[in-house]
Chain length 447, copies 2
């Protein structure tokens, strides 16, 4: 290993494991290796871990971003073998065992690619430019600001037709994110907007569309849960369009495959993701969905000491012939398996292969309306029991006691008064004309 | 009045009171006039009221912005005579009794200027460009992000000298904001930074400067409180420079009048404010500090039916020969007085003049360290009692039960573990290349 690495990680005799990405998988791995006989370098674009399953509640002004994210430095206080760097990884050089960042390079003994997935716009440049994705808490906050801004604008827009594109909202993608967003928008339409905007005829003017390319919602869930989610949403007034596809969006009009046009400025794109690997990895490693093919030990073929876990990894098992679903549980279990295997190495033991244990799936549609599949698809249930299970599971999964408490209080308050308090359009000021807007930190200072 | 107003306020038979600015004064007035026989139009750049006394805790990652701001629409739900518009007022036309906004104009019967104050850089363009003000929750959030970013950068910056400008912080202005900021930075330096950044030698490297042009801190407080604040800060390791002035700042080096240079990228400017009146008001109304001179009924001279309250208003009383201090209490009492006078008009009664009742001043320096002046300057006290009084008064002044609870929980948690959880660099994504960055909403949609 080099005597110096420009991103200033101290030399040590311990083997260095560099983890790129502090999502569910990368974080699990880093936490299990803290206080181990490895030097762990965790690199992420943000200084916090994000709890993705609740992004939609941030977008709906039901929760604050700070309640569902957690600073890495606080998690690793006192863990002397863990080094955190907040930056992007621009390239990996497998031959030199080195990654590059805008702040300098860093050598590794083992590299774990836990970079997750990006929004997949399927090559449509217009949609990529104008639609709103929801793959980060920053994007969720952007969506919140955008919805609130547009309702304010609607007040000063006299004509019914010109108001339509401000007040209507189109969600593309009938997976859990799309379903949960549609459900909470429907509740906002019913309970919050009429009180906030008595000058608008909310019931008559506001339409919420959910567009799904397949014939059912919640693909991968049991048929019973899919049907139940559809019935819930329809009951709540969401216009669900099945077997329907968005072909274009120019920022004002959505075009569907059947020729239909919907005027709206807000298209929320939850229709697909693709793996987000690091440049410099061998082309041959890339497979379906831009994911990295790994063997049962989560290793990439053709390179030494590089591993992939989570949404960016692709592994087939007998029960998952098309690879695992890109969900938190898979990432967590992969991070756990890899950490155990690194620990086994220290004890001179052989590695064990990864097997995914499916604990089930769940999605919430609204107050007292959720669907849960346990030991899928043998057992599923819905309604208020499913909703309570959903609340509990998510509450316990959130990092930090304070966060759990704040989320709980917000949920109780919102349940009692149907009235999120967080309808605030807050943007940090930007000065000095430079600081990265939503992107990675500006590399100009010490690059 | 015109048959139509472009910002879409419905016609009514009630006299229309337009309030520009929803700070302490404007909000008090609007709330007291809700459900009255006036039509009230409240215009603000933001869709929320900001609780300015706690901005510094947002900057220090101790509180979330959402805990100290409150959405106007939620405050006025069910108040059918109150109309809220989120926009800027670009100009007033006193002859036509009309204000102009990017969204169109609006006529008024009575206009209340409650636009508050802006940061005063005293004409220094360099300081205005590079220093960080703290007059909005957005600016506080910017400061937070900036401090955290710079500590992350310091980790990848090898030389001691080049790190200095990243880790040192200079606060200019020894009023309550400067004192409170310096105190909490000193606590962060002692309790949080060493745990978050064990790789940096925080105690040796980080310096916090507080620069005050006069010979004492907390001007306007009792001499005892001023001395106590100075002693507290010195004990906590803050480098307080009295009788000192900043003459220039280029983004990397602060120059003082005595020739001293301090390397830092962060200069927090809490050294002065100036009134922020609306363009179009008569020049003759402007007086000291860019404020609007009003008579004891808070009316501007030379124009009809225009009033000013709060930081932007200037009124001399026997006890305040140089005008009232620009603090929340004055604004609240002015809003209250004006609301009562409008109510008296409805009853055919004469108006009563404004008199300020000074309830005292307080500032907190750190844990169990605060100063309180009651019935100034007759009675003052400090220490833990003053700190508890400060906490209680501020807790009760914050709008909203949920906000009170969240602030309280955060305070208790921070007290117990010295460890703010909100050290998060979160920025909403900006897309479509257009939306106003920290500024007023973009007028392109319905302007």
């Amino acid at each position: 290993m080099d005597a110096t690495t420009k991103i200033n990680i101290p030399e040590s005799d311990l083997p260095r494991i560099v983890i790129v990405g502090g999502g569910f998988g990368g974080l699990k791995l880093a936490r299990k290796l803290s206080r181990s006989a490895y030097q762990v370098v965790l690199i992420d674009k943000n200084n916090y871990h994000q709890f993705q399953p609740l992004f939609y509640q941030v977008a709906m002004a039901g929760l604050e971003p700070s309640s569902i994210v957690f600073p890495f430095r606080k998690l690793f206080q006192g863990k002397k073998n863990v080094y955190i760097r907040v930056t992007e990884v621009t390239r990996v050089d497998p031959a030199a065992k080195r990654i590059h960042t805008p702040f300098g390079h860093c050598n590794y003994d083992h590299l774990i690619v836990a970079t997750g997935a990006d929004t997949n716009f399927f090559g449509n440049a217009n949609i990529a430019e104008f639609a709103i994705p929801m793959k980060s808490v920053s994007e969720a906050l952007y969506l919140r600001n955008n919805i609130l801004d547009d309702y304010e604008d609607a007040l000063t827009t006299p004509g019914y037709d010109s108001r339509q594109e401000l007040v209507d909202i189109v969600i593309v993608g009938g997976g859990p994110t799309g379903v949960e967003l549609a459900g909470s928008l429907a509740e906002m339409k019913k309970h919050v907007l009429p009180k906030d905007y008595p000058e608008l005829n909310i019931a008559a003017e506001v339409d919420i569309y959910l567009i799904q390319s397949g014939g059912e919602l919640l693909k991968g869930f049991s048929a019973g849960s899919s049907a139940k989610a559809l019935r819930y949403l329809t009951d709540m007034g969401v216009k669900v369009l099945l077997d329907s596809r968005v072909t274009d969006f120019d920022g004002h009009i959505v075009s569907l495959q059947d020729g239909r046009k919907i005027p709206t400025q807000k298209v929320i794109w939850a229709a697909g993701i693709k793996g987000a690997p690091i440049p410099g990895l061998p082309e041959t490693a890339l497979t379906f969905g831009n994911r990295l093919a790994v063997d049962p030990y989560l290793r990439l073929a053709g390179v030494d000491n590089i591993y992939a876990i989570g949404d960016v990894a692709y592994l087939e098992e007998a029960a998952f012939p098309k690879g695992h679903p890109q969900v938190a549980q898979v990432a967590i279990q992969m991070g756990d398996r890899l950490a155990r295997n690194f620990a086994r190495s220290l004890d001179g033991k052989d590695w064990e292969p990864f097997h995914y244990r499916d604990k089930g799936s769940m999605a919430t549609v609204g107050r007292a309306r959720a669907v849960v599949d346990l030991l899928r698809p043998e057992f599923h249930f819905g309604g208020i029991m499913a909703w309570l299970v959903w609340l509990l599971v998510h509450l316990f999964a959130i990092l930090g006691t304070r966060n759990k408490l704040f989320v709980f209080v917000n949920w109780v308050a919102n349940y009692i008064n149907y009235n999120q308090s967080l309808r605030l359009i807050i943007r940090p000021t930007f000065r000095k004309g430079s600081d990265g807007v939503g992107g990675p930190r500006s590399p100009d200072i010490s690059g």
